[in-house]
C-alpha cells in the first residue's frame, strides 16, 4: 500500500482527537510512515475538529489533498458534510458517519436550518464510494450510559469491516497506550462490539 488517507472529524469534546491518535499510533506499530495534523486551542471549544491522518510507505505533507481521502470518519453528520471535499469517486471514499446530531449555535440560537439526513447523504454521494450511517452513539449510550466511547465503536466497525488497513492487535495496543488506564477495558469492550456490529 502506497498511502492511506483518513479524515476524522467531529465536534470539540467528542473524542475525535483521541480517535485520530489511536489510528496514527496503530499505523506506526504496523510499520508505516505516519503524518497527522490537528488543531488545538480555542477551536476545540465546541467547534469543528477535523484531523488528517496519513500513513503509508513514505509521506510528506500531513494534510490530505482535496479528493484524496480513502476514509472519512465523522462523529457528527454536519461535520461529515463539512469535510465532503476530501472525498471523491476516484478514491471510492468511504464516509462513515455517526447519526448523532449536535446542533451548532448557528442553528440552535441563530435560526439556521440543520440539513435533513437525506440531504446530507445526497450532497455527499457525488464524493463517495460508499456512505455508511451508524447509530454508534445511541448504541454505546445504551451499553455504557454515556456517548463518550462512540469514537472507539466506530473504529471497531471500520476495522471489522476492513474499511481501514490496520490490524486489530495493533489498534488494541494503541488503545492501551493512549486511553487512560482505568478506561482501557471499557474501550476494548466497545471496540469489540464495533467489530461485531453489522
Amino acid at each position: 500500500m502506497k498511502e492511506f488517507n483518513v479524515i476524522v472529524t467531529g465536534v470539540g469534546g467528542q473524542g475525535a482527537m483521541t480517535l485520530g491518535m489511536i489510528i496514527a499510533e496503530s499505523a506506526l506499530k504496523q510499520g508505516y510512515d505516519v503524518r497527522t495534523t490537528e488543531l488545538h486551542g480555542l477551536a476545540q471549544r465546541g467547534g469543528s475538529i477535523p484531523l488528517h491522518i496519513r500513513f503509508g510507505e513514505k509521506l510528506y505533507t500531513p494534510l490530505v489533498l482535496e479528493g484524496e481521502a480513502n476514509l472519512i470518519i465523522a462523529l457528527e453528520p454536519l461535520e461529515a458534510l463539512r469535510t465532503t471535499y476530501f472525498g471523491s469517486k476516484k478514491h471510492k471514499t468511504v464516509f462513515l458517519i455517526d447519526n448523532y446530531k449536535l446542533l451548532p449555535i448557528t442553528v440552535s440560537v441563530l435560526g439556521e436550518k440543520y440539513p435533513a439526513m437525506e440531504n446530507i447523504i445526497n450532497h455527499i454521494k457525488p464524493f463517495a464510494g460508499e456512505i455508511i450511517i451508524l447509530n454508534a452513539s445511541d448504541i454505546v449510550i445504551k451499553e455504557t450510559g454515556s456517548d463518550i466511547t462512540s469514537n472507539i465503536f466506530i473504529l471497531g466497525y471500520a476495522a471489522g469491516n476492513e474499511l481501514i488497513p490496520l490490524k486489530e492487535k495493533f489498534i488494541l495496543k494503541a488503545i492501551e497506550e493512549i486511553v487512560p488506564q482505568k478506561y482501557v477495558e471499557l474501550n476494548k469492550k466497545i471496540f469489540e462490539l464495533g467489530i461485531k456490529h453489522k
Binding site: 505516519v34 480555542l42 471549544r45 482535496e66 454536519l78 471535499y85 448557528t106 440560537v109
Partner: protein, 619 residues
C-alpha cells in the same frame, strides 16, 4: 512514562511541540520558561509533565518578556535554557530579546517562536516573526517536521553554545501540530545550577555597547559561513536538468514534494533550514543555472526578496517567482503547489480540482462556531453585562482569552480586540475622548500578564471604564495552565496565591467588588451601579472554569444536579435559548429542552427564566 522520555533508539510518533522538548532534553537543557500561547502551548504542557522526572526546572512566567528574561538569566549563569511562546509573545518579549543578542550567553539558549499562518488559534494579526531575526541580529532555524524539530533544536544548542548567542527556532502551526515519526537520541542530563560570573558585556551600556554591536556582526558573518555548509539546508533532485528551480522553507517543503509527485515531475529543490543568516553562497551557486526560480515561503517574501538581490550578482536575467503565484495572506497547501508547478512546467494534474471545487462549493452548511462551554462563568458575566446595559451606549472592550468568544451573537461584548491587556488601554482612550460608557473585559491570567499597567494608568489619569476581571482561576484557553492567581506552580508546587482584588485596591481603585458571576442578579445590579461612578472601579467575577470544576467533581465522585425545562410552565420566551445561549439548551419540534449530556448544573438558566420553568431533574 511520557513519550518524550522514552529510551534512545525508539521510534515514536511525536507532535512537533513534543519533539522540541525532546530536542532540548537531548541537548542538556536545565531551565525552561514560557507564557502559554497556541500553537506553542504543548511545549509547556509537555515540560510541565516531565520536568520533575527529567530533573530540570520549568515555569509559567507572568508574561513572555519575563519568561525571556528568566531564560536569559539562566543562560548567563551557565545553565542551558529554553524559552518559547507564540508569535505575539515575541512582540512582548522583544525589548529583552534585543539586548540578549548583545550580551550573548554563557550556556546555550534557544528561543522557540510558533507562528500561526491562517490564524487557526490567533486573533490580532497574521504575523511573520522571521524579520525579527534580522533586526535582533539573532540566528534562526526553521524545522518542517517532528524529526527536524529534534535535530534543529540540538543544532541550535550546539551553535548557541559555540557562538555564545541565543538561537531562534521558528515553527508554524502545521509543524507545531504535526505528528510524525522521531528516532530518539540520547537524553543528556542538564545542569540546573551554575554561577553568574560578572562581565562588562552584560551591562549593555555605552560606549562599550558599540563594541559589542560590532562583535555581534562578526559573529553573524561567521554564522553565515556555517549556514552555507550545514546539512539542514539540502538539495533534492539536485543534478536534474531543468530551467526551473525551487527554493523552499518550512512546511511548504512537504507541499512541494507531494505536488511534484502528483504531477509526476522532478524539479531541483533547495530546502532552507537556516533562515537567518541565509546561506548566500549556497543560494548563489544554486540559482546560477536556472531561467526561473520559484520561492515557496508562507507570509512575507523574505527569502524571495533576498534572492532577487543575490540574482543581480550571479544571474541577472533570472525570473524570481513567489508572491503573485502565492498569496500574502493565509497558509499554503499542496493544491497551491500543484497549481503553481503546473503553471511553470506545463504539466497537468490528472484529477480536475477545479471541477471538484465547483461541485462542493455548491454545498452550504451552517457554520459551527466555537462556543463558551456549558456552565462557563464567562457566559453568566456577559449575560449580566448585556442585561445591565440594555438601551445604553456602551463600548465593550475585548481582550485575549476564552472570553473572546463573546464577539459572537448573542453576546457581542468584544467591540475591539488588540492584544493582551488592551481592553483597559483602549478602553481608557475611548473613555477619555467620548461620552460613551466603557466596560473592559479581561481574564485573570491576562490581568497578571499585561493588565496591571493599564489599570494603574486608568487610576493615575483619572478615567473610569468599568474593568471586569473574569477570574476563572486558570489560564483556560491554551489548555489549563496554572497562573499566579491559583497558588500553584507549573511543576505542581504550592505557592502564594496572588489576589487580584488586593492588587486593584493597592493600585488605588477605591471600589473593588468580588462577585460570583453565577449570582446573576447581584452582577446585573453591580454593573449598573458601577457604570454610573465617576471613578475607576473593578469587578472581579470569580468562578472556576467549568471544565476544570467538572473534572474535579468527576474525580471526587460528586454527582451533579442537572436541570430540565417543564414544558407546562415554559412559554418559549427564548430568554434561556436566545439570550443566554447555553449549548445545552435547544428546541425540538417547538419544545424547549436541556441536553442532560451537556448540562453541568450551573443553574444560571434557572435564575433568569421569567416563568420559573426550569427545575432540577427528578431522579
Amino acid at each position: 512514562m511520557h513519550k518524550v522520555l522514552e529510551k534512545q533508539g525508539n521510534k515514536v510518533l511525536l507532535l512537533g511541540n513534543e519533539a522540541i522538548v525532546r530536542g532540548a532534553l537531548e541537548s542538556g537543557v536545565g531551565f525552561a520558561s514560557t507564557y502559554p500561547g497556541t500553537p506553542s502551548s504543548e511545549i509547556g504542557i509537555t515540560f510541565a509533565e516531565i520536568a520533575k522526572d527529567a530533573g530540570i526546572y520549568f515555569e509559567y512566567s507572568t508574561n513572555e518578556k519575563v519568561a525571556l528574561e528568566a531564560a536569559a538569566g539562566a543562560a548567563l549563569s551557565g545553565v542551558k535554557s529554553m524559552c518559547f511562546f507564540k508569535h505575539f509573545g515575541l512582540n512582548v518579549a522583544c525589548e529583552s530579546v534585543f539586548p540578549s543578542a548583545y550580551t550573548g550567553v554563557k550556556a546555550g539558549m534557544v528561543i522557540v517562536v510558533a507562528d500561526d499562518p491562517a490564524c487557526h488559534s490567533s486573533g490580532q494579526s497574521e504575523e511573520d516573526t522571521r524579520p525579527f531575526a534580522r533586526v535582533a541580529h539573532l540566528p534562526m532555524l526553521e524545522p518542517s517536521n517532528a524529526q527536524e524539530c529534534v535535530d534543529f533544536v540540538k543544532l541550535a544548542y550546539k551553535l548557541s553554545d559555540k557562538f555564545k548567542i541565543p538561537f531562534f527556532i521558528r515553527t508554524t502551526t502545521r509543524v507545531s501540530h504535526m505528528r510524525s515519526i522521531v528516532k530518539l537520541g540520547k537524553i543528556v542530563k542538564g545542569k540546573t545550577k551554575g554561577k553568574f560570573i560578572k562581565d562588562i558585556v552584560y551591562k549593555n551600556f555605552p560606549p562599550y555597547i558599540m563594541k559589542t554591536h560590532e562583535e555581534l556582526h562578526k559573529k553573524l558573518d561567521e554564522l553565515r559561513e556555517v549556514s552555507k555548509k550545514i546539512n539542514i539546508n539540502f538539495f533534492v533532485n539536485k543534478n536534474i536538468k531543468s530551467k526551473l528551480g525551487i527554493i523552499v522553507t518550512g512546511i511548504s517543503f512537504d507541499y512541494v514534494m507531494d505536488a511534484m509527485n502528483d504531477l509526476k515531475i522532478k524539479v531541483p529543490v533547495l530546502k532552507i533550514g537556516f533562515t537567518y543568516p541565509l546561506p548566500d553562497k549556497l543560494i548563489k551557486n544554486f540559482i546560477k543555472r536556472f531561467k526561473q526560480v520559484l520561492v515557496v515561503e508562507e507570509l512575507e517574501p523574505i527569502v524571495e526578496n533576498h534572492i532577487k538581490i543575490l540574482a543581480k550578482e550571479v544571474n541577472p536575467k533570472l525570473k524570481v517567482l513567489g508572491k503573485g503565484y502565492f498569496p500574502y495572506a493565509g497558509e499554503y497547501n499542496e493544491e497551491m503547489l500543484v497549481n503553481a508547478l503546473s503553471k511553470t512546467t506545463g504539466k497537468k494534474y490528472e484529477f480536475d480540482l477545479i471541477a471538484h471545487k465547483k461541485k462542493y462549493l455548491k454545498i452550504k452548511e451552517p457554520k459551527r462556531l466555537p462556543v463558551l462551554c456549558a456552565g462557563c462563568p464567562h457566559r453568566a458575566t456577559f449575560y449580566a453585562a448585556k442585561v445591565a446595559t440594555k438601551g445604553m451606549d456602551v463600548v465593550y472592550g475585548g481582550d485575549v482569552g476564552c472570553y473572546v468568544l463573546g464577539l459572537f451573537k448573542p453576546y457581542e461584548t468584544q467591540d475591539f480586540m488588540f492584544s493582551m491587556g488592551a481592553s483597559e488601554g483602549l478602553g481608557h482612550g475611548i473613555k477619555k475622548t467620548t461620552n460613551q460608557k466603557v466596560i473592559a473585559f479581561l481574564g485573570d491570567s491576562t490581568f497578571f500578564h499585561a493588565g496591571m499597567p493599564g489599570l494603574v494608568n486608568i487610576v493615575y489619569n483619572k478615567s473610569n471604564p468599568l474593568v471586569i476581571v473574569m477570574d476563572n482561576r486558570i489560564t483556560a484557553m491554551t489548555g489549563h495552565q496554572p497562573n499566579p492567581g491559583m497558588g500553584l506552580t507549573a511543576m505542581g508546587e504550592k505557592t502564594k496565591e496572588i489576589e487580584i482584588d488586593a492588587i486593584a485596591k493597592a493600585m488605588g481603585v477605591e471600589d473593588v467588588r468580588v462577585i460570583d458571576p453565577r449570582n446573576i442578579n447581584l452582577m446585573i445590579k453591580t454593573i449598573k451601579e458601577l457604570l454610573e461612578k465617576d471613578k475607576a472601579s473593578v469587578i472581579v467575577a470569580k468562578r472556576e472554569c467549568e471544565l476544570l470544576a467538572m473534572r474535579k467533581k468527576r474525580k471526587q465522585g460528586i454527582k451533579v444536579v442537572k436541570f430540565e425545562i417543564d414544558p407546562k410552565l415554559c412559554r418559549k420566551c427564548g430568554t434561556c435559548l436566545h439570550e443566554l445561549a447555553c449549548p445545552a439548551i435547544y428546541e425540538e419540534h417547538g419544545v424547549f429542552k436541556i441536553n442532560k449530556n451537556i448540562c453541568t448544573g450551573c443553574a444560571v438558566c434557572v435564575q433568569i427564566c421569567p416563568n420559573k420553568a426550569i427545575k432540577p431533574v427528578k431522579k
